[in-house]
């Protein structure tokens, strides 16, 4: 893992892309469960600035992942509007890519072809095919280009999923608990890798997590949600420089503060 981090620092970085401003305006959302409406988001308002790294924290099942699906354009919100640089988000777009909790690699495609997916879908394979190998090198997996997903470890598969997103040079990277199922060592090294990638490229990041420490180590801003239906409980700027250390007294104080907001101040 150490050698991987080193590799990332010398590999060609992602192309410098300007991040987008994502505005979430008065968004409420309901699911229809067997005829009974289940409210999951209740008038959520915030704006992620260009190039900002926003972590969304909240109790399990509170609706933060749903918010990401709305931002990705996979579903329209029941009420309210979401804009990207002022333009209404009406559907999915490869400038806003998602990395899900499961890598969801296509098992019938090898690693390289999985990374190529976005370019292939957009008909850009010929023009920008070279980006595929660059991006694979960026996540340290160039040696596994021909491997099939069932041959990869969880961490490697999630790296491929990250490469599959980054190859499109996104303006917004949507991370839906991407490290949630990884072992703690892989998790720590990938937190650092993602932060490095973000700092070198400039896209905007929305990260859903329920790991307070992860949010504090990675994000420039942490938004804390309530239980379902989710409303914003707190919006905290984290001004620490990178690389951050988990024992930093300011971060420890913030963690105590946020755990308190989540109703867990008694523990730890």
């Amino acid at each position: 893992m150490v050698s991987l981090a080193h590799k990332i620092s010398i590999a060609p970085g992602p192309s410098k892309v300007p991040g987008v401003e994502i505005a979430i305006k008065d968004v409420s959302h309901r699911f229809d469960l067997e005829g009974a409406p289940l409210p999951v988001l209740d008038r959520v308002n915030f704006t992620a600035q260009r190039g900002e790294f926003v972590a969304l924290l909240g109790p399990s099942g509170c609706g933060k992942s749903t918010l990401l699906r709305l931002v990705a354009g996979l579903e329209p919100p029941t009420q309210g509007a979401i804009t990207s640089n002022g333009a209404l988000i009406a559907g999915p777009d490869p400038s806003r890519v998602v990395v899900f909790q499961d890598p969801t690699l296509f098992p019938w495609r090898n690693v390289r072809d999985n990374v190529a997916l976005g370019l292939e879908a957009q008909g850009l394979l010929k023009q920008r095919g070279a980006r595929i190998d660059e991006t694979l090198a960026l996540v340290g997996l160039e040696a596994f280009a021909k491997a099939f997903p069932h041959q990869l470890s969880g961490g490697m598969a999630q790296r491929v999923a990250l490469a599959r997103a980054l190859v499109n040079d996104p303006e917004l990277l949507i991370l839906d608990e991407p490290l949630g199922k990884l072992d703690s060592l892989t998790r720590l090294s990938m937190q650092g890798e993602i932060v490095n990638l973000w700092r070198r490229s400039g896209f905007t990041v929305l990260l859903v997590t329920h790991d307070v420490e992860e949010a504090l180590l990675m994000a420039t801003r942490v938004i804390v949600f309530s239980e379902r239906p989710a409303t914003i409980k707190a919006d905290i700027a984290i001004d620490q420089p990178y690389p951050r250390h988990r024992d930093d007294p300011d971060l420890v104080a913030q963690r105590r503060n946020i755990l308190g907001l989540l109703g867990l101040d008694g523990s730890w």
Binding site: D93, P94, V98, F106, W108, L117, A121, Q122, R164
Partner: protein, 336 residues
């Protein structure tokens, strides 16, 4: 096999005493060879209880084979590669030799099984040697009909399955029809098909296609319907069009299911093929079987059955090969 470890042990400087395992292997090969030799001797020297041709030829061939097996048992040590190949088959060869002896004794020699329903081995040899042009012609006709029907059915079933999995409007109209017609054995259409179609050949293609198409359609449909919706989410966020979702996501993801349907369809279509050939098509192995039965040539029937089983097994093998090639990304569960 056999004394094959002699070399290895000699090279280590040990005395050239074959291991117990080596001796067993050699003995097995020699026993198998002996069984085939005994069969040859019985066939040649014991007078038949009836009139069957090609006994001497069979005796010579099996005698030579038995001799070769014994030689392999004795000197296999000098040809370890060949020996290793033969070794895999010796238990089967021994068993087959014994079965052939039993078959020969109970039919041609002692006439214990009722005649003429159970011809001896050399009667089958006679059929293969003397009637092979007609048998070959039948095999070609059967394979042609089977492949035409199977391909038509597979393509139609696949298209129906994908459309059912993808389009609600298509499902509204086609699903009830498929539920009504699909489970019915296609053979039931036979009387209608033979006058509704211009020829019994085209009618048979229709019946074989119908038999193949139903399981292919149902399995393809279920395959498309059970595709992990996260795959679509991933593809959509990466800019996939509707066509991309169908051809690059739904179909590849459903392919393992499709192959289950193809295997079911192929298996079921053999029954329809033989029936159609017996009932109307004046060609093919089914027709040959019926023709042989009409002339009470039972040896020809057994010969045709043997050829038919080889043909069906061969077609299944081809489908397995195709699956292994297209689904190489899966870990193969069954080796055919």
């Amino acid at each position: 096999m056999s004394l094959l470890s002699i070399e290895a042990e000699a090279s280590r400087g040990a005395p050239a005493l074959p291991s117990r395992e080596t001796l067993t292997r050699a003995a097995l090969a020699i026993a198998a060879g002996a069984a085939w030799l005994v069969f040859a001797v019985i066939t040649e020297t014991w007078p038949d209880a009836g009139e069957w041709g090609r006994g001497p030829e069979l005796a010579r061939a099996t005698g030579g084979f038995g001799g070769a097996l014994i030689l392999a048992g004795l000197f296999g040590g000098f040809f370890p590669r060949v020996a290793a190949r033969v070794r895999r088959y010796t238990p089967w060869l021994l068993a087959l030799g014994l079965v052939f002896i039993l078959w020969q004794l109970t039919t041609a020699k002692l006439a214990m099984l009722p005649q003429p329903f159970f011809p001896p081995p050399h009667a089958l040899v006679e059929v293969f040697v003397d009637d092979w042009p007609k048998l070959w012609e039948s095999v070609v006709a059967s394979i042609r009909l089977e492949l035409l029907g199977f391909l038509a059915g597979a393509v139609a079933g696949f298209l129906v399955g994908v459309s059912l999995g993808w389009s609600r409007a298509f499902g509204y109209w086609v699903h009830p029809v498929m539920r009504l017609i699909g489970p019915m054995p296609s053979i039931a259409w036979l009387p209608i098909a033979f006058f509704a179609f211009p020829s019994s050949f085209s009618a048979s293609i229709f019946l074989i296609g119908l038999t193949t198409g139903f399981p292919v359609a149902v399995l393809t449909w279920s395959g498309v319907a059970s595709v992990n919706s996260a795959y679509y989410d991933v593809a959509r966020t990466l800019g996939a069009s509707r066509a991309f979702l169908i051809f690059k996501v739904a179909i590849p993801a459903a392919l393992p299911h499709v192959f289950v349907g193809l295997f079911m369809g192929l298996g079921a279509s053999f029954a329809v093929l033989v029936t159609a050939e017996m009932m109307g098509v004046k060609a093919g192995l089914g027709f040959y079987l019926q023709w042989a039965q009409g002339w009470a040539s039972y040896a020809n029937m057994y010969a045709a059955l043997l050829v038919m089983s080889l043909m069906c097994s061969g077609l299944i093998t081809l489908l397995f090969r195709l699956r292994d090639r297209l689904l190489s990304w899966q870990k193969a569960e069954v080796q055919w």
